[in-house]
Structure formats: structure tokens, C-alpha cells
């Protein structure tokens, strides 16, 4: 396959002509938005001590780098690998397996910090009172089990469909 060059998703026919109302709405939205940004910046400088601001900037920058340079390529690679590994299977099964991995990962993203926070002896026993590691393991297990069940169902359905002549063929 040759790499297809991205083409415009909105051909001139589907692009709405910018009406006067649209233009006004855009100007108003952007103007209020800029005011909001300015207010946010003011509140930041007003309430957060100056020596803490580099830390805020660092976290914002790190979040962008972490997402764009680590999480996204990982997800891309995972997508390619699952499609590769499942090239003999129907799309539904590949998507089911991908969904299970995504579900488990999103939950881990939220729960692993809780497990880490728990490891610092809590000063307050009513904060993080559950066994989050155990529950996360159970969640992964349930998700994998669910995806196996759905995949088996999809596989059986595609086998039956392949063995049965379609109406058009008969």
C-alpha cells in the first residue's frame, strides 16, 4: 500500500459559507475565551507564589510531552501489533481485544496512583481504605474474561456465516 496523502475532509461543497452570524459568534467566543485566559493568568500570578510558578509550567510541559511522546506512540504501536497478531481474525475480535486493553489501561491510570499514595503510610485510615491492588487485578481479570467471551461469540458467528451460503449466492 502506498501512503495516501491526506486530503481535505471538508471539500468546498460541505464547507459552510461563513455567515455573518457565524462570524459574530466566533468573534464573541474567542473574545470571551481570551478574557478567561487573561483572568486565569491573573489569578495564577495573584494567588500562587512566584517561586512555585516554574513548577506549574514544568508540570504542564511534562504533561504534553508525556502524552504526545510516550502515551500516543505506545497506543499506536499497540494498535499495529494487535491488528498484526489478529490478521486472520475478523475486525470485531481485534477491536474487542483492543477495547479490553484500553479499559484496563485507563482504569490502571486512575487506580495505580491510589496504590502508590496508599504505600505512604496514610495519616488518616479513612482515606484509601480499600485493597486497590487486589481490586485492580480483579478488574483486569474480569475485562479479559469478558473480551474472551465476546471474541468467542464473534468467532462462532463468523464461522457459521462462512459455512452458510448467502442468499445472494443461492
Amino acid at each position: 500500500m502506498t501512503p495516501d496523502i491526506p486530503t481535505s475532509p471538508h471539500a468546498p461543497t460541505t464547507e459552510p459559507a461563513e455567515t455573518g452570524r457565524m462570524r459574530t459568534a466566533r468573534v464573541v467566543l474567542i473574545a470571551i475565551g481570551v478574557l478567561g485566559l487573561a483572568w486565569g493568568a491573573y489569578v495564577m500570578f495573584d494567588t500562587v507564589s512566584l517561586r512555585r510558578l516554574p513548577g506549574v509550567a514544568l508540570w504542564i510541559g511534562a504533561a504534553i510531552v508525556l502524552h504526545d511522546a510516550v502515551i500516543s506512540p505506545l497506543i499506536f504501536g499497540l494498535g499495529v501489533l494487535t491488528r498484526r497478531a489478529g490478521h486472520r481474525l475478523t475486525g470485531g475480535i481485534i477491536v474487542t481485544v483492543q477495547a479490553a486493553i484500553v479499559l484496563g489501561s485507563v482504569m490502571s491510570l486512575i487506580v495505580v496512583p491510589a496504590i502508590v499514595a496508599q504505600s505512604y503510610a496514610p495519616k488518616n485510615p479513612t482515606v484509601l481504605p480499600l485493597d486497590y491492588a487486589l481490586n485492580l487485578g480483579g478488574f483486569w481479570l474480569a475485562v479479559m474474561l469478558g473480551s474472551v467471551l465476546v471474541s468467542v461469540g464473534l468467532y462462532a458467528r463468523s464461522r457459521r456465516a462462512n459455512h452458510r451460503p448467502s442468499l445472494r449466492q443461492s
Binding site: 495516501d4 486530503t7 475565551g33 485566559l37 483572568w39 486565569g40 489569578v43 477491536v95
Partner: protein
Amino acid sequence: MRRLMYEARAQLASPVRNPRMATVVGRLLGVAFLLCFGTGLYSHFLQEPLPWMRFATRPSGLYQVTQGIHIVAGIACFPLLLAKLYVVFPQLFQYPPVKSVGNLLERASIALFVGASLVEVTIGLLNTYQWYPFPFSFRQVHFALAFVIVGSLLVHIGVKLPLITAHWRTTPTPGPDERHPVDTEQDGTAPDDSDATIEAAADGAGLSRTGGVTGRVLSYIDATPAVPPRVSRRGFLATLGLSVAAVVGLTAGQTFAPLDALNVFGPRKKGTGQQGVPVNRTSAQAQVGTTALAASWVLTVAYRGVEQSFSRDDLLRLPQTDVDLPIACVEGWSQMASWRGVRMRDLADLVGAADDTAFRLVSLEQRGSFKQTEMGSEYVRDPLTLVALELNGETLDLEHGYPARMIAPGRPGVLQTKWLSRIEAIDA
């Protein structure tokens, strides 16, 4: 370089990466952001009201609901935000990286929008775990970033408005031309292999399909079968729906009682803690162990030079009232409980306070942002507002504010001042 950028976008192309999907996911994320913003502002002003502000005291579980929504919507933002970023990811590889001054500003605002959003939801989540590994104060930064995010959101909607309206409703499938990145403004210049500006060997990564590591990786990716677009799109939306349902459904039980049995990941659990009520700040953290248990403890109520002091026995001899009110924390958990104690308005009347008097509540706490809080007259005069002496049929536990604490309808837990020592009128 241009070839590389086109290559990246072509490789990242996917049936779910289109303006329609960006609109669908963006709408949901926008709603979640605005819910967080609105409920967050409400919580902020409850804690730091402007002088003219008065608040609703009914329904008595109002704050429980608004703050529950704040946390639930915030958690839902994790899958929604990641999904939105997944859909628009190819936009990162726009070429040329900057087209005009307007484009530069737009890209800068998007970078700020994305970074600030990721930080906002992350520190919000960590705050519910009472874990602060970041080098700045939570409250101030979480508050300031909220305006940055909503401002960026409005700018973003303004910039993309023609695209959003064009894809607000579903349009007929564009057909074979589906594998394109989102929102490309193609100016008709296709990458030309003979283009002299191609910096093929500049970084040692050959762009030719036949040689080099990059070439082989790209060929490998090219040879990977694609999932049918329809299955891919439906799978994406189903995954997003399931993820939101999972992160919300398995945590929301910390405030939403019907989901309590499913609460396996919430940072709080209903019914834990002394007398079945969780605690935000312990007596050890507040360092009130000795002062709160001292036999000489009295509660002083003051209004314009009139001061009356009550021992715990004095308070117990005053008319007692029973109320059922939730403790609802800024961190999103809540717990219904039964309280017994003296009506705040009775105490205010004993010192002859006027109906519109607001009071300052002073705790035995020596440090902490909430050792002193203020209570507007709407809460002072409410028949449900108590200086509580008992909780769930027992003498108030030290962790819950013994000898006496405030409990009022519709207020954040941090304002339900524990270990009371003084209640004084604020001079108008």
C-alpha cells in the same frame, strides 16, 4: 521534513480520526469540563463568598450533589480527554508547523489547553487521594487553571466553529476517502519526491520505502491489515462508553449511595471510620488532642460585647434537636448521618443577635486553612443547623469534632467546623 510530517499523518490516519468524531467526543468533553467548572465555582464561592452572596440551604444535600458531580465528571474526563486527544493526534504533525501568526497563536493555545487540562484532572485526582507530589499548592493552581481551561475551550470552539457546525449532525459516509487525518487544511500541494527540500538523510533515517530502519518499520506498518471503518468507529465509541462507565461506576459509590456496592476504586468508602463516618482531618493532624479533651472546655458565643460561655453539660441542658444531614467533602465523598445537638439559631438568640447576623466559627485547631470559618445568616437561621453534640446515637467522637462541632445543610465539610471553641458575630 514535509515528507516526514505527511508520512506521520498518513500512518496515523484512522477511520475514527475525523472531524465528526472530534465533534462527538469534543461535545461530551466540553459538557464534562463545564460541569466541573460550574460545580467548582459553586464550591469555591461557598468557601470564599463575595460580600453580597447568599446561598440556598435546601435541598440539604445540595452540596453533596454538586460536589459529587464535580468529582464524577472529573473522573469521566480521563477517558474522554484521552479519546479526544487520540482523535486529533495527527494534527500535531501539521506542515509547515506554523502557517501564520494566527495559526501560531492557535497552536500555542491548543498546547496550553491540552497541558493545562491534563494537569488539572491529574492534580484533582491526586487531591482525592490526599497525595501531593506536585511542587505547588493544589487549591490555588486548580482554581486558576480552571479559568485557563475554560478560556482556551471557548477560543477553541470559536476557532473550530465552522467545522463543529458542519459535523454537529452525522453526514453520509464520505466513502473510500476515509483515511484522512482530522481537519486538514490541504492547500493542494502534495509532497513531491523530487522536492529538493526533503531532508531525507538529515537525521540518518532513510525515508525511502526500501531501505533504512524507518523504511522497514513503515513498510511493516503499511502491511498491517486495517480494521473495517465501521467496526473501527463503533469499537472506538463502545470502548469510550465502557471506559467512562467503568471509571464512574466503580468510584461514584463514595457519594452516590445506590452504587456503594460497586465502589471498589473510590478513595473513600461509606461507613468507614469512627461511628460509621469517614474523616477528612484527624484530631492528630489538627493537634487538638489535649485541648478538646480538657475538662475546662467551654464554647463561647459572642455578639456585640455580650459573651456567654457554655460547658458541654450546659449545652446538653439546652433544647436538643435531631437532624439527618450528610457530611459532604470537597474531595467528592459524602456520608449521611444522624446528628443531635443545639440549634445554632437558639444560641444566636441567647446572645440577642439580629436575624441578619453572620458568625465566625473558631476551632481549637492551631493551624490549617479552616481553623476559622464564616457562616452566613441563611445558615445561622436555618432550623437544621446545629452545634452537634452527638453523632449516630453516640457522644461525638474526637475525630468528628468532640466536644462540639457545626453541622449545617448544603455546606462543604471543611466549613462544618470541628472542635468548636468560639462562635462570634461578624460586625457588619
